[in-house]
Amino acid sequence: MTEASSTRVGFFTDTSICIGCKACEVACKEWNGVPSALQADGGFEFLGQSYDNTGELGADSWRHVAFIEQKGPAERADGDGGFRWLMSSDVCKHCTSAACLDVCPTGSLVRTEFGTVVVQEDICNGCGYCIPACPFGVIDQRRGDGRAWKCTMCYDRLRGGLEPACATACPTKSIQFGPLDELRTRAASRVDTLRAAGVVDARLYGADPDDGVDGMSAFFLLLDDPEVYGLPPDPVVTTRDLPSMWRSAAAAAGALAVGVAAAFVGRGRR
């Protein structure tokens, strides 16, 4: 990275102080004009999954608050009779090595001057390649629109010197916005504080620049395994393996050429 690294910004989502108010979801929808995530029949759906009726990130949900009700062993109890409630606001990770951006065939997905990953909707032709490429299941095709949509980290607000809508709306500072380096330092000391206070399961997710996506611009402090929150435990950017994939394809292509040639050898037999 060159100059951009000095201005790379991100989100540190500290789930230990999330109260599940969903102000982030609402602020995001309001600011970005994100439509309702309607079902195929045009109605809403109650998921019956605690307080979560958003379900997951998608074309029409750029922030998603997860609610996890846990009845664990007594030593897990935070003084609540063996019950605890995990809440976490998920968002696009804006990966350092972003598979969606790598595979986009139109150049619609780009890296911005803030180190974020954004879809240019005037260019996207809805090929759908970014959707299975994302190891987090973040980006999706909008029903009735055909194009791929996801969090822009409020690119327009950043350009105007403002913080993203979700971070601005968050009443507990569970969602913190700022220069990525600063956030990583702050997050590391927050984990230390929590662990010293006896929250032994506190861990950072996505803060390591040496992980499978070379670090995420949006990273998290979690209180349980990532998969409990619907996050992949060890995401890897698929394009890391691209050279070996092309080598295998070249070998198969060579075999095909040889095979066809061989089929013509010894004409006249049989």
């Binding site: 996207c124 299941g137 435990p233 060890d234 095909l256 050429a257 004409r267």
Partner: protein
């Protein structure tokens, strides 16, 4: 959320209400259908070149026409699958080596142009030399045409595709040879080369698919479940029976030849749809994402 944490081996995984981690691929049936027609286009261009070189102009001519028809169908399928079909030309505004779809777009454009030019020249008798050059260009690009689609699906986070990245190109190359060979058997019954290509291609396709499933371990399960499993069994039965029929029918017995060729075509098509459905299956079941990843992490922490 009280299920036990994953052990070092296969076992129950923890998830968020059992919801998928990955998004379901939005590609419709057009895409696996394109894998099939693209394979036929590529294999037919190679057969045409082989026919030309060995003096079998009838084989060359018919395979060229087949290749053109298949590549035209491919283009229609690909544009139809777009969320914004009217923007298909946006594919040509950049060339990106990190995107197999971008590479494939340029490849398909060049291959399609060459095949079409060669076919027009062949059918009209005009521009013979240009036509021959175009034919050669098409044949040179054909092996890449037949295999890049395997890289396209493998270059995703979908476990049943990504983990199969080293076998899928051979499955697709075998399928291209099998289907183009089988089609040529129907068009030019006396061609021994077409028959051999169909038989050999089907054998390679089925063998590569077998290796793929064995090597994939827990993720290989996606190839046995639901629609993927049904299509897989159809592919194996049709490809195996068709290939055997073609192998024993020889050049004279027409009925088993035709039956064998049709079965090989069905098998090659079913194989592509099976691969596609297995990917979808592995994307929508979080166990395929969470299981292998947490086992990998557990193994790494043991190694430290």
């Amino acid at each position: 959320m009280t299920s036990p944490p994953p052990g070092p081996g296969p076992g129950p995984v923890r998830t968020y209400y059992g919801r998928p981690v990955l998004k379901r691929p939005v590609w419709k049936w057009y895409i696996p259908a394109y894998f099939f027609t693209g394979g036929i286009a590529a294999g037919s261009a190679l057969l045409a070149a082989g026919g030309r070189v060995t003096g079998d102009d009838r084989l060359a001519r018919r395979c060229l026409v087949a290749s053109s028809a298949a590549v035209a169908t491919s283009g229609v399928l690909l544009v139809a699958d777009l969320g914004r079909p009217e923007r298909f030309l946006n594919m040509l505004r950049v060339a990106k080596v990190t995107s197999p779809m971008s590479v494939g777009t340029w490849l398909l454009s060049a291959f399609g142009t060459a095949t079409a030019a060669a076919t027009v020249s062949e059918l009209t008798g005009r521009g013979r030399r240009t036509g021959r050059v175009a034919e050669a260009v098409a044949a040179l690009l054909a092996p890449a045409m037949a295999t890049y689609t395997a890289v396209l699906v493998a270059d995703t986070a979908v476990p049943a595709w990504h983990d199969a990245r080293h076998e899928l190109p051979f499955v697709f190359a075998g399928g291209a040879a099998a289907s183009a060979g089988a089609l040529a058997v129907l068009m030019v019954p006396e061609s021994a080369a077409a028959r051999r290509l169909a038989v050999g291609g089907a054998a390679v396709e089925l063998a590569a698919a077998e290796v793929l499933e064995r090597r994939l371990g827990e993720v290989g399960e996606a190839y046995h479940r639901g629609r993927a499993g049904t299509l897989k069994r159809l592919a194996t039965a049709a490809g195996g029976t068709g290939g055997t029929l073609l192998a024993v029918a020889g050049r004279r017995r027409r009925a088993p030849q035709v039956a064998g060729a049709l079965l090989v075509l069905v098998g090659a098509a079913a194989e592509r749809f099976a691969v596609f459905e297995a990917g979808v299956e592995s994307a929508i079941d979080p166990a395929f994402t969470v299981g292998p990843q947490s086992h990998r992490l557990a193994a790494e922490s043991l190694a430290r």
